[in-house]
């Protein structure tokens, strides 16, 4: 059994293990970082700590999907390698309990971009949910280079 925070990005349901999620925040002013990969939206001050903000739409290459009307700019703050990162998402849902029986292998139709960051797909009553490997998201190029 594990607990997963559910969220939505461009019509795709995602989940992140509750253990790595620190907070859900509304995005304030960000400082852009020219020269950084495009999927890094910038850095922001989160209660005295500097957090790198990741534009998950760009990171997952789903920028074409329409943004919802008046969608609040939400970010899920996660911890990875003892640092904090804010992942921009469209919406955050409930925390759900997931049993081992609910997990299914990645479907063949899953795009390589998603496959890279997927820890597995979780079957829910009406939908499928991709459990996201935060480290693979954040240390994208580094992992590839290694």
């Amino acid at each position: 059994m594990s607990q997963i925070v559910t969220m939505e990005l461009a019509g795709t349901a995602l989940g992140i293990n509750v253990g790595v999620v620190q907070d859900v925040v509304r995005l304030g002013r960000m400082t852009p970082v020219p020269g950084a990969p495009a999927w890094i939206a910038g850095v922001m001050n989160l209660r005295g700590h500097i957090v790198t903000v990741i534009d998950l739409r760009r990171r997952m290459d789903v920028t074409q999907a329409p943004l919802g009307d008046g969608t609040p700019k939400l970010a899920v703050v996660v911890e990875c390698r003892r640092e904090a990162f804010a992942l921009m998402v469209d919406g955050v849902g409930d925390v759900i309990e997931v049993g081992n029986g609910d997990r299914v292998p990645d479907p063949a139709t899953l795009s390589p971009t998603w496959r890279d960051v997927s820890l597995g797909v979780i079957r829910r009553e009406h939908s499928l949910l991709i459990e996201v490997d935060v480290e693979a998201v954040v240390f994208h190029d580094l992992a590839r280079a290694a």
Binding site: T31, P32, V33, G35, G48, I50, T52
Partner: protein, 878 residues
Amino acid sequence: MDDLLPDFLSETQENLQQVDDDLLRFEQSPADAAILDNIFRLVHTVKGSCGFIGLPRLEKLAHAAESLLGRLRDGEIEADAAIVSETLAAIDAVRGIVEVLATTGAEPEGDDDDLIARLDALTRGRTIEDAGNRGKANVERDPDTRSSAPSQTTSQATSQTVAQESPTATSSPTPPSASPAAPQADSTSAQTIRVSVDLLEELMVSVSELVLTRNQLIQDRRGRDRQQNGAADQDIDLPLQRLSTQIGRLQDSVMRTRMQPISGAWAILPRMVRQLAIDLDKAFDLETVGGDTELDRQMLEQIKDPLAHMVRNAADHGLEPNAVRRANGKPSMGKIRLVAAQEGGHITLTLSDDGAGLDLAKLREKAISGGHMTTAQAEEASDAQLARLIFAPGMSTAKEVTQISGRGVGMDVVRANIEKIGGTIEVESVAGRGTTFRIRIPLTLAIMPALIVGIKNGDATEQAEDDDGSYRFAVPQIAVAELVRATGDSEHRIEYVGGAPVLRLRGQLLPLMFLQETLGVGAPDGDHILIIRGAGRQFGIVVDGVFDTEELVVKPLGGPLARLNIYSGNAILGDGQVVMILDANGLAEHCIDVGDAKPDEDSAPEAALEDTDAMLLFRAGGSAQPRAVPLALVSRIEDIAAGRIEPTEDGAVVQLRDRLVPLVALDGDYTPPTEGRQSALVFAQNEGAIALAVDQVLDIVDAAVKLELSSSDPSKLGTAVIAEQATELLDVAHLLSRHVEGGRRQLADGPTARILVVDDSPFFRNMLKPLLSAAGYRVTVVDGVEAALALREEGKKFDLILSDIEMPGRTGLDFARAVRADGNWSETPLIALSSLADEEDMDAGMAAGFDRYVAKFDRQRLLALLADSVDGRRERAA
């Protein structure tokens, strides 16, 4: 015992360092009973503690050393070099055992019987062989260090505690080491307490946060003032002011608790120098000045190894052997000088030796073989540029790898270590006089004064910019040498050479980068220029605005950002926004290298030694920047009525003296004027000629042409400062070859003739190579007789050799005699190339072995001669 061991270790490590200091001072003044007393007591303490904790091996060794020192102290024997050496050896052995103890918790296996026997022998008054050979190094120390050392914060790298002064002493405004009443070692315990380094670190973090909060409060207050037009509540101002002052003091005090005299970083040097003098068999002095300069202990640790490495380098490679020094008329004793001083928020360390200076020729060679420079670049490179190469990887110039240095770990590692702690390093070398390294490091890494600069956001689609549509960045103040404003009416302006922005500043040509462009966020803009020192060279960063300075609490970059070498960290500003801190060293890599950067006064005597050439200055293509061409290459200047210019399919032509000559523009296509007149420079080659349309002929000046910046544009040779202006030099040969038929095709069907050009002047090498290449020859250029003869040794063959006459060292005449004397070039046609071309010179040239003689700028005759000589030779061969 387990409880006692950590205390014993930290105490012993501290004591050991003090013994080192004391022993070296003792060697110079053996009569000083106080010093001997210190040494004795420290060794005695070690021995006593050993017995108590149960460390038999250490105890035995310490006992032997103590016995020797005891007899010495009681005046029963006299100190000599052997005694000092063996005592040092004993201390080293103790240190070795203590180090093992610190890591494993147990004494290492083995015994020290040999050493103990030697110590015992000395104690009994017998001497050992070879004892007299030791101790050639003579170590001078700054008197300030002498009085201050023991009572101050001396601690070992591995020690987890740091001795500190009591709070009463800390609150005094003068740094503790400057206190005139600093007592000798024995009073250490009274005025200091031990505090764990972790606690100090914690304190520093809290203070950093406090500074940050204060900054936010002040910023907020300013904001309110603005909103309420200055009518804000006054009653909060005074307490806020006091809070701010107190936090400032607190920050200062906490910083000072972490401060240690820099002599801690070079405490190992006297020992090392002593050993070096023995190993290298060189007698030399090490002089240290400013040992009481304080800096953060974190920095102290970081600077230790680079300093030791550099001193080792100076002793091994910098200083010549004593005999060589004597032969060169220098004092046989070499001197290495290490000076520390505080300058504002940073420390400068100057390490100089009075040795031979850097081997620039060797560096040039290595630069080429190592791929750091092309042959042409290396030939053009200034001394300063070559000297800087020692900071590049794999550039050790040591002829042989010695045990002391030159093991592949070079100055590149030193540079990397210094840059890692936000410092800079520069080198200056004078042949035969010595080498000087200048290091600048910040006082601390935790809090950094920085300049906040801004650039406008050129990319309107960017969502995340600041409210006013601009970006802000922080630049560490240590990296900024000065600020220059370049507006239309000010003294300075941004000029362009070959499209690259440059700034002329006190005779230097500095490359510029526009921050927007470098960061990829907009088009070049701005007129504020930060002059940056980075990687041992200067350049300018152009920004739109410079705001204020702020003390930043530096935070490391988050994971994926850490790889970006243009940033060194980030920080939260007073207004709560995050600011990215630019890394000057990283940015330097994005900036092209502009050749020599010498102040005017230095270049003046140098210029006097060089040939001057008559240069024609003009403007063309609507550009304000002057261009230049050697006057000797210009056939004539024409002033053409617009009506005489005839447009054709292949561009405009004009009839000049019964010939149709293409009229061309310097950049892009030429559009003839519809009325008025057109000035043009006419260049002729063989049967062809071109007329170059110019806006205005400015002047003819005699100038020593020194190319500062080579150009990627083939129609330009590069840039030089002529008549105090950055001026582009035209490559006439390229222009001709582009517009005139002939030339290139002349020899195209036969095998290409190979020509060797020997000339020490980079300008002529640059001019002749394209000229001859354009005429269809395969051209090799070298900068002197030695290089040319080296090619002969390699077995290279040429169809013809062109050589300058006046060259430093071996002249063209020497060269001709050498070529004619023997070797496989004895039959090769030799043409002398000289600006001195009267009869007498010609006779001397012919006598030396030259076949023909041609004046330097007489291009027509040169090409004719070449064609004649090469073709004539072919015909004879056929």
